[in-house]
Symmetry: none
Subunit: 217 residues, 4 copies
DNA sequence: AATGAATGAGGATTCATTCAT
DNA sequence: TATGAATGAATCCTCATTCAT
């Protein structure tokens, strides 16, 4: 699956992709992640970021058009990793079915949420922020489209399965994670497991016999 | 089902239930609803409320201990209505099954969201706010417990169905609504319908044969 | 010694001296004392007083012209007691000298500060308040005049001792108490003892031989 | 005597010591001084300071962590001058005795109070403020310790003179000034003179013969 | 006499963002 | 490119006091 790219941030203000600047951008991103992780998204102010990144507030505006752009950049950075994880884990499957695809995808998400707790915080708990929210919505749509294409190509779902069904599946998966990670940093296992079951049960309504029984990858 | 009551707001500062004061409280509540509805929950400040309600900021504090209390009061007011709607609609059912109970309950919610758009806004889009969020969490738990008891008494679900399953059902229903009402003030019909299917499909995993086929009310 | 009376409060607004009203005034005074004692003079607001006194805020204005008047009333009430204590203790002396008069007077103050901790709080720690401060200044002047007359009549001090000397003695005694009671509710004993010595040493500069050696009362 | 330094303010927020910023800090300090001098310490609000300093309220927070820090900064600035004045005047003495040391020190204070009326206002009349009060207490202790060491080294007081005696001396001197400057901006001369006598009389109780008669500096 | 209700006038502090250098 | 400095615009909340009843 192709990673979902979003150029908006880069457009708003040119973000350098190499050299010393690159390092400073990373420092800002890391600082922001750290703050959100430690004290929640409301604690993220230009000052706190600048303090943690040990650079002047004004420097943030050298690389980012505004505060939201920082959040978005983190999302993009870590979301690329997320997409890669999903692609890799799906690629490793030997037997494909609606269940195995859903399960693998959702567990890949959990893997990354565990590896990137700050991203989890921003992504699952910081959806307050409009920029984050919009990005999320778009990413979910793209992910749904990709997954649907993937499943259709392999005859796991009926050809007439509407895009909206895939989208709902992804969105609900998303909400399940929001719920599971709400109180528990590692996500409540029961909620995660049951959430997977729920999405599987829902999507299997559109599965082909092959999608139900599974086929060699 | 017993309505979920939460006296916290009233406790924080006495809210009069009659007389002219009552009217001013309503004016504040309505102003707040209007603001949230029009510009989102972040637009709700003591000043905007006071302006819209055409009264001094200080007057708000005559009736509410703080800003959160205003939000909470709206939730309580409209949530009581919600509970009544659910109870009434369930009471009108002639045939009970997991599906009919879930469907009726969720549609009752939609009914109230349509009737109370500001509440919808606060409830579904304003979960940012901690006070609202906490109240929501508690209300969801209570609702889940009530519904589970209701289903158990009528043998619709297996006796060992864990409380967490009901909670997940309610929470996911909640999230489905958040999703459906995110862009569309009336809620996206497709998402609502499919969301109902999803919750039904999930909960039927714990249904008794009676719960699947249905029994006379 | 005649008690120092200050009618200002009563003038500002008529304070009833009998009947049910009297009881309500006392309740306000006691509430205020309690608050100041417990949380300092900044905690004294019309609302806190009303709450503790279990009556509406507006009722306070029935008896007192403003917040300051409440403080003043406490001062007057307890200061009368102070004056009585001083007069009584001086009256019990069998041998009069500058030292014995100063010592007796200052110890009488300590006695009352111990008996009326709220008064101590207002008087010694709450001199912030202009009303209290002004009242204090006036009372100190009157006390100084009374004591000087007392000492002169008995030939304890030289006839030409200026009033200002007595005033300074009283004022410094006052400051010694402020200092001694600053941290310690009962007053730091060392500071009290030394303070007495200081005032005695100062005033003995104006003593007659009789005032130094002492004369039968 | 070493000046009493207190870095708290500078720590709370970096105060620039040179350049244009320095000038703005001075403007704030001067504005605050002016306000306190004109209308008392209660008139000192962020807004009044900003108005008088002709800069936005927010700018105050560029240099000071909070309102108290402004007061403290004035105290520190002028108290340093005070310490220098005392040290200089003591250094100029040709004959040392308890009396000459006390007298010189107290007159040095008066000199600075005359030169810095705003400081006098804050220091002597603004002890209301907790920050000022705490700073004052600490400074008094330090001053007492320094003076005691000074006097001991020169055998002016008995070696066993307790620290508390010096502290009481300083504190009472402080209170004498509070009293003398209460109504009179230049301090009531009589009160100042008599106050000096009082402190001298008290401290001479702990003087050595040398401390009474005086020794060459 | 008593009081519920109403409010004008502040008060401290925060924050994202923009410039001049 | 980098940044120290500056600030407009808000934000929530408190309090003493006054009326109409």
């Amino acid at each position: 699956m192709a990673p979902v790219t979003n150029d908006e941030t880069a457009v708003r203000r040119r973000i350098p992709t190499q050299g010393r600047s690159r390092a400073r951008v990373e420092r800002i991103l890391d600082a922001a992640s750290q703050i959100v992780l430690a004290d929640g998204i409301e604690a993220l102010t230009t000052r706190t970021v600048a303090d943690v990144a040990a650079m002047p507030v004004a420097s943030i505006y050298q690389y980012f058009s505004d505060k939201d752009a920082v959040l978005l950049a983190i999302c993009e950075r870590d979301m690329a990793e997320m997409d890669e994880q999903v692609a890799a884990d799906l690629g490793r499957l030997t037997r494909l079915s609606v269940r195995s695809v859903v399960e693998t995808t959702m567990r890949a998400y959990v893997t990354v949420y565990h590896r990137r707790p700050a991203f989890m915080q921003i992504w699952l708990r910081g959806r307050t922020n409009n920029a984050v929210n919009d990005y999320g919505r778009r990413h979910n749509q793209r992910t749904a489209a990709d997954l649907l294409a993937f499943a259709r190509e392999r005859d796991l779902v009926t050809p007439d399965t509407p895009a909206a069904v895939a989208e709902l599946g992804v969105e609900i998966g998303d909400r399940v994670f929001q719920l599971a990670f709400e109180k528990e940093v590692r996500g409540e296992p029961f909620l995660i497991e049951e959430g997977i079951e729920m999405v599987v049960a829902y999507l299997e309504r559109h599965a082909t016999p092959a999608g139900l029984e599974g086929v060699p990858a």
